[in-house]
């Protein structure tokens, strides 16, 4: 069952540059899961527990290559975070992926219409992530 991995693998995929993903989720369990999946696919991961913290970090560190965020969060939803990112001239190029445990077509459409790169249903699996990241280059 276990497979060996290089401890300090470089690059999410090929090349020297390692892809940096910002994961946003108010649930510590979900953060642990998504971080684990992303890291085992060799991405550099930063996790935060709110949209507000995500925006703070994005303001300081513009080397984020992708944002993956939970939809339902107190204070600022993933949708609201998406909107803020797409409204910002510095941030709008960053692909944003929304995660949700609920399959609500209206919600999905709204997010995609607002510019979300993809919408993933939880539980997120490693195959979802590799599918995603092959599009982000």
């Amino acid at each position: 069952m276990s497979s060996s991995r290089g401890g300090n693998g470089r690059g999410g995929g090929e090349g020297e540059r390692q892809i940096h993903v910002l994961a946003v989720d108010d649930s510590s369990v979900d953060r642990a899961m998504i971080a684990r999946i992303l890291r085992s696919a060799k991405y550099r991961v930063t996790t935060v527990d709110s949209g507000k913290k995500a925006l703070e970090l994005l303001g300081l560190e513009p080397d984020v290559n992708m944002i993956i965020t939970d939809y339902w969060m107190p204070e600022m939803t993933g949708y609201e975070l998406l909107k803020r990112v797409k409204e910002s001239s510095e941030l709008r190029e960053i692909p944003v992926v929304i995660m949700s445990s609920e399959n609500v077509p209206n919600r999905i459409n709204r997010c995609l219409a607002e510019g979300a790169e993809d919408f993933l249903l939880k539980p997120v699996r490693p195959s979802d992530v590799s599918r995603l990241c092959s599009r982000i280059r």
Partner: protein, 228 residues
């Protein structure tokens, strides 16, 4: 001399011996052993000139408590199977185990610990909010919504089914809970909270037993069976 519980394997025709040994263990213990971790024993002392016979190996095993190992693994399989049957675990637990490897050897335990911490924090907050002279029912309702929401979330994204989640019992309690909030019924809310607590501690004790068994297996030098 090795102090870990390892099975002595003949050095010259190791493979043949291993298979024979495994068969013998199965026959003698009557255990339906799914995994039997067989490692090469480091030495039996310098006087040993030939590989140990099966009988010799068998008594070595017994003296080292490797008999226990087979029993432990069987108990683990039985216990885990029951948890799956009763809806405490589902195949997402298997997925969680798949994310664990040498670079993250404690991943499952870490995630479960986070789950315990989050849940207990939520329960405490609910308790505190309901304990006020003047209860802020809006706040209680928000917590219950979080509980239900996290139940819904947990039911899909977290593998621990019962408390988490989605189990009809918990959903019903949450609905009743929210009704009590709407009616501003403190007594009712406290009763609901009690029920939720019970469900949670039930799940917690099941999971703790599971981890205890795993630890025992690892301490005896075995490997933890994974049910696919």
């Amino acid at each position: 001399m090795c102090t870990d519980a390892s099975v002595a394997v003949a050095l010259t025709n190791g493979r043949h011996r291993t298979a024979a040994l495994t068969d013998m263990m199965r026959q003698r213990t009557g255990a339906a052993i799914t995994f039997l971790f067989v490692r090469q024993h480091c030495d039996r002392g310098s006087e040993a000139k030939s590989p140990p016979s099966l009988e010799e190996t068998w008594s070595l095993l017994q003296s080292r408590g490797d008999m226990e190992l087979g029993g432990l693994q069987r108990r683990y399989i039985d216990f885990t199977s029951a948890l799956f049957r009763e809806g405490f675990l589902d195949n997402q637990y298997t997925q969680l185990q798949q994310l664990q490897d040498e670079s993250n050897p404690e991943f499952v335990l870490e995630v479960v610990t986070l789950f315990f911490q989050d849940s207990e924090k939520l329960l405490d907050e609910l308790s505190r909010t309901l304990d006020q002279q003047v209860v802020d029912f809006k706040k209680v309702d928000a917590h219950v919504h979080q509980l239900k929401g996290s139940s819904a979330r947990f039911s899909t994204s977290c593998p621990f089914k019962l408390f988490l989640l989605g189990a009809q019992r918990v959903k019903n309690v949450c609905m009743a809970f929210r009704n009590c909030c709407e009616e501003r019924n403190q007594e009712g809310c406290l009763r609901c909270l009690q029920q939720v607590r019970q469900e949670y501690f039930l799940v917690k004790s099941k999971l703790e037993t599971l981890f205890r068994l795993e630890k025992q297996i690892l301490a005896a030098g075995g490997s933890v069976p994974v049910l696919w």
